[in-house]
Amino acid sequence: MAIAPDPLAQIERWQADGRKTALATVVTTWGSSPRPVGSHLAVADTGDFTGSVSGGCIEGAVVAAAQEAIATGKSKLLDFGVTNEMAWEVGLACGGRIQVLVEPVTI
């Protein structure tokens, strides 16, 4: 019974296919948040992704940031939540706040 996708395994599969990848990880949460610290979202340069860092509220923004990280080769710490100026666009409906580390997977 495979219940949760395994983002780390997916990254290795993508690498085997010659694709570039990034890993997003929930680093901090405040208040209510749908996914705990440590949750992973794996992203390929093509925009494919597996796993989750929220209930779907911010995945789009994280995937975009991950593609940017793949392009620049630089990690980035993203901040989402009610205190964020992007709240109205991609904020968390649950009212929580989370930080997500996006890191390119390099050779």
């Binding site: 019974m1 219940i3 949760a4 780390l8 395994a9 990254i11 290795e12 690498q15 890993l23 990880t25 680093v27 901090t28 705990p36 610290v37 440590g38 630089k74 990690s75 710490l77 580390l101 890191e103 390119p104 997977v105 390099t106 050779i107």
Partner: protein
């Protein structure tokens, strides 16, 4: 993250070794801490390492206070050992599996073990004392006895109490549990030992059906697993 670190991490996961990736978000340096071994970048102080190992032991990912250092802990799934392939086990085993536990059902009655929802759950068809020495409960293992039958439940509880299992629960009314404690005291177990047993098992949610009782047991197991360490 560098590929070499990712591959090392995946090997630890495959071998079910508790470990952690440690990332200094200020400088992008990264290490993998696994048992006594540290690989990757060399930036962790002795104090950091103590903190990382404490976090691995208690399965607590997070940022180390007053630093930019993020620790992502990976631990093998917690285990649940269910003694008695009874009705409640039919509900509890699949629920616990969905919640992420590695589930083993112990019952010497083969027909019970192979029936219904238990068909695809790992089972040991043997008497509990023999089976329990085989599963060797550790600090990430919950043991739940459900048979109601002292000759099955009691030996399992005695083994569980001699192990570091984080949760031990025994099905039975207050009256049944009082009698059980009397018997086990006769077996030389101390009051402190016996206080580890959750009995009657499960959170008090007025559960009625086997599935509802399974929910109350699983909820209590999770609450115990996730409780802040004292």
């Amino acid at each position: 993250m560098r590929s070499v670190l990712l591959h090392a991490l995946r090997r630890d996961l495959a071998d079910k070794r508790p470990c952690a990736t440690v990332t200094d978000m200020a400088s992008d340096r990264q290490a993998l801490v696994s048992g006594n071994a540290v690989s990757g970048d060399d930036f962790l102080s002795a104090d950091h390492l103590i903190e990382v190992r404490r976090r691995i032991a208690t399965d607590r990912s997070g940022v180390i206070a007053d630093t930019q250092i993020f620790v992502r802990v990976y631990t093998p799934p917690p285990r649940m050992v269910i003694v008695g392939a009874v009705h409640i086990a039919q509900a509890l085993a699949p629920m616990a599996k969905i919640a992420g536990f590695e589930v083993t059902v112990i019952d010497p009655r083969e027909a019970f073990v192979r029936s219904g929802q238990l068909a695809d759950i790992d089972a040991i068809v043997a008497w509990p004392d023999e089976a329990m020495s085989q599963v060797a409960p550790d600090i990430r293992t919950a043991v739940v006895t459900l048979t109601h039958d002292p000759k099955l439940d009691d030996p399992a509880l005695v083994s569980a109490l001699r192990s570091p299992a984080f949760y031990i629960g025994a099905l039975g009314s207050r009256k049944t549990h009082a009698k059980r404690l009397q018997r086990l005291t006769g077996d030389g177990l101390s009051e402190a030992d016996l206080a580890r047993i959750h009995g009657p098992v499960g959170l008090d949610i007025d559960a009625l059906t086997p599935a509802e009782i399974a929910v109350s047991i699983l909820a209590q197991v999770i609450a115990t697993l996730r409780a802040e360490p004292a």
